[in-house]
């Protein structure tokens, strides 16, 4: 699953590369970093990322994982620190979890934090609690806001039983699907699904 998601991510980046190099120009990136691979070399690295993503379908070799981490990091630097925000974070969390002996626990902790922290920063604001901001940002009805925040904040409960975990993850799939269809965050949908996949294949 992760290999396929990384393939999708890389193909998207390869597709927008001609525009990217005109906006996030090499000169401006090198001004910030001092050194960065040339455009031709970076383009070649994107193809290497695609090959490494395909390789992940057959083997979870640490070498492949390190190649993917390195090129993901370089891509983020090219975009001033992050290409697609949270989906970059989750990509690196899943990849790094493959390198650790207790990687699934690390992934479970980060997945839980991704909901709890996001929920807590929003629930303290009255505009989020009464749904005004949800409607403003997404056009969804205001009454959905509080249940969504409660689902996010209570996510640690999901780990209390396999049945509850399936319930929380099912809501999570709907949540990320809405984000993809309303906010254009398709990469979040796929990478969070990859995180779910890696966890449930062990937990259940």
């Amino acid at each position: 699953m992760l290999g396929l998601v990384l393939c999708l991510q890389t193909l998207e980046l390869i597709r927008i590369w001609p525009q990217v190099r005109k906006i996030w120009t090499l000169e401006l990136v090198r001004r910030q970093t001092g050194w960065f691979p040339s455009d031709q070399a970076f383009h070649a690295l994107l193809w290497l990322r695609l090959a490494a993503s395909l390789g992940l379908l057959w083997s979870l070799s640490p070498w492949l994982v390190w190649i993917l981490i390195g090129i993901t990091l370089l891509s983020a630097i090219r975009f001033g620190g992050s290409l697609n925000g949270g989906s970059d974070y989750m990509t690196l969390v899943i990849l790094s979890s493959l390198l650790l002996p207790w990687g699934r626990i690390y992934l479970a902790v980060q997945l839980t934090l991704s909901y709890v922290v996001a929920g807590l920063v929003k629930i303290r604001l009255p505009e989020w609690r009464n749904g005004k901001t949800l409607t403003l940002l997404t056009g969804l009805p205001a009454f959905l806001s509080l249940p969504m925040l409660l689902w996010e904040c209570s996510f640690p409960l999901a780990w209390s039983s396999p049945r509850l975990l399936w319930l929380y993850l099912a809501v999570g799939v709907c949540f990320h699907l809405c984000n993809a269809k309303i906010l254009g965050l398709n990469r979040f949908f796929w990478i969070w699904l990859a995180a779910y996949w890696r966890l449930i294949t062990n937990f259940s």
Binding site: E12, Y89, R187
Partner: protein, 124 residues
């Protein structure tokens, strides 16, 4: 363990590396502001909205990936304006927005929030 050593880099290097390497340290603080972010306007004959509509496709969606990355440039410029440590025309976020505006055939850009202009670029 080597990966966790890597995670210390943004802290150890500091400065602009803290921003450039921020993906190494996950931050899950999404949508912590209750208001709409500033919007980009581009100057052609008239001012026109700078954002393209999102396709919202679930599978292969490079158009939205590019569009959202462009929208993040506005956040980067706002952060640089707030930091105010060097002339804004020297900031990479400003120069990248100039590149974006040029790429879309415009010769000037501005940022608006809740109907007010909060930043107006030079003509280029």
């Amino acid at each position: 363990m080597a990966y966790f050593a890597l995670m210390l880099l943004p802290v150890l290097l500091g400065g602009r590396w803290r921003r450039l390497l921020r993906v190494l340290v996950p931050s899950w603080r999404f949508f912590e502001n209750a208001e709409l972010p500033p919007r980009l306007w581009l100057r052609y004959e008239e001012w026109e909205p700078g954002w393209k509509p999102l396709r919202r496709a679930l599978w292969f969606n490079p158009e939205d990936l590019l569009e959202l990355a462009c929208r993040d440039l506005v956040h980067a410029l706002c952060a640089d304006l707030e930091e105010n440590s060097r002339p804004i025309q020297d900031c990479e976020s400003y120069l990248m927005l100039v590149n974006l505006a040029r790429e879309r055939g415009a010769h000037r850009f501005k940022l608006c929030q809740q109907g007010d202009d909060i930043f107006l670029s030079a003509s280029f």
